[in-house]
Amino acid sequence: MQPLELSAVDLVAAIRQGDVSAVRVAEAFLDRITSVDGAIHAFLHVDREAAIARAADIDARRKAGKPLGALAGLPVAVKDALCTADQPTTCASRMLAGFRPPYDAEVVARLRRADAVLVGKTNMDEFAMGGSNENSAFGPVHNPWDLARAPGGSSGGSAACVAADMAPVAIGSDTGGSIRQPAGLCGITGLKPTYGRVSRRGLVAFASSLDQIGPMTRSAADAALVMEAIAGHDPGDSTSLRAEVPPYASLLEQPLTGLRIGRVAEHFGPGLDPEVAHGVEEAFAAFKAAGATIHDVELPHAKYGIATYYLVAPCEASSNLARYDGAHYGHRAEPGKGHRAEPGKGHRAEPGKGHPADGVMTFESPLVEMYCRSRAEGFGPEVKRRIMLGTYALSSGYYDAYYAKALRVRRLIRQDYLDAFRGVDLIGGPVSPTPAFPLGEKTSDPLAMYLVDMYTVGTNLAGIGGISFPCGFTKGGLPIGFQLQGPALSEPLLLRAADRYQRLTDWHRRRPKLPA
């Protein structure tokens, strides 16, 4: 048997039945990582020894007849935005290079309790800010379907990892599309749960009212398996929902007849690549053929989603990232390189008044200098841009026009969904306006990069659930993604619909050609 070819569901079953050892499975995936990740760079840290040891322990316990967790022996890769006590947690930033938190994220703890085998931490856009995984301080991730293209972001490493069979399951996080969009560009399945469905404790915060952790897998059935292990109330997260966790895997077995899926005409405007549009329409047709009905719905404020998101998220991020100041952990600049003005006599060089040509700045105190230089050195350009944008939009005189305004539009966006879901059960459509784009294509224009999230930000702003999965390929062999969005706590329906689609099609079984 080939572990790399099995689904997570089948792997777990095979291990539990003794058909294959957890060690053999772990080794297969670790060897695969060694073999192909040089070209892809999905991983920032791989812990082979610990993974094998863990797998060996599971094998021993299985032999001794001891009870095993629901994911026993399943290799799982974890986005480097989740804290792991035994591995570095860098968020792909120089600010946290080598940082080891003294605790595990709640999701990581639940995976360990379920006896999953954590193989390593995946690459990402720095502090989860980006749509292409080109904002990593440690180098970009390459799309396994075309190494010259981006895998999407910010969970680009997790997406590429699963797409290239380096792990059957990866954990990602999604703030404006960061699970669903890279899943779409890499031909895998990615679920952003309803806000509060999965604990955020230990997820390095980007935008607290938008962030959610979710599974990235080859299939909805695999995602359902992982969700059963990671979802559920956490008293350590005040925003965590108390709702019971349904048995997602057993709820997959239901026909699609009667399912009403909405289609938003506006999605199919000029920004949408024609091959993607075609793939998406084919998916609608497939659902229809399977017994669903397709209905026109409107999300009148969806077009304001990007603007709203790019106010709410940077504002929250500017505050969440204030803790990275070189004082208690993380990168601290070496002292002494900047000039210091005398206390009370002028501070940083006045712009427009002869800013020193040599770029040497003045600071009002050694402490302020430490803050300013540590943060300037530790953060990459996109992170700095968003911190600046968020700081500006929250600042005195601008709060009402920007942040408060965005929160009002957010309510309108959420209301659009609530209204739409009165007439349909789910809303379908594209997850990304284009297939995977070449590395470097969008990096010179921040706004161009922001627009890759146009179909996904609404889900986070409204706090509802969304899943993306492959629905076709371009002529050039690039995956095309389809997204379903559902009301709060509709994960069972989202997973069921995706699973049903995946029984009727096999886009999700295709694999990129990579040197073995």
């Binding site: 003294p102 009212s209 925003t239 404020h301 990007i306 603007a307 709203t308 790019y310 106010l311 500017s318 100041d325 208690h328 993380g330 990168h331 601290r332 002292p335 900047g338 206390p343 501070h347 940083r348 712009p351 427009g352 800013h355 020193p356 770029g359 700045m361 600071f363 105190s365 050694p366 402490l367 302020v368 200098e369 430490m370 300013c372 230089r373 943060r375 953060f379 700095k384 841009r385 911190i387 600046m388 944008l389 700081t391 500006y392 939009a393 600042s395 920007y402 408060a404 305004k405 965005a406 929160l407 009002r408 539009v409 309510r411 309108l412 921040p446 706004l447 409204a462 706090g463 509802i464």
Partner: protein, 100 residues
């Protein structure tokens, strides 16, 4: 909606980010463009709309006043750039408090 170089320098100080002259120039251009873009929200009349800060309707989440394990001092300081075994060390802060 253009930001001036001075606006950006002020924001840079608020955000504790050292910005070189080149940084300021570039950032001024980029931020002006982005702020111009997000200003499209002005098209919408939201006078009667209540801001939505939380997507949840959850309220009243509490914990009991029960002690939980703290970190050891060593764990607390394990990632500190500078410490003396008991405290974090930062450049001298003289005679002023943080908040006004």
């Amino acid at each position: 909606m253009a930001l001036s170089r001075q606006d950006v320098a002020k924001v840079g100080l608020l955000a504790r980010l050292a910005l070189s002259g080149d940084d300021l120039d570039r950032m001024t251009g980029e931020l002006s463009k982005i702020v111009g873009f997000v200003s499209q929200l002005e098209e919408l009349d939201t006078a009667d709309v209540v801001p939505l800060a939380h997507p949840l309707d959850t309220q009243n989440v509490f914990r009991d006043d029960e002690p939980a394990a703290s970190l050891t001092t060593a764990e607390a300081l394990q990632s500190a750039p500078r410490h003396d075994g008991a405290c974090f060390l930062v450049p001298a802060v003289l005679g002023e408090s943080g908040a006004a």
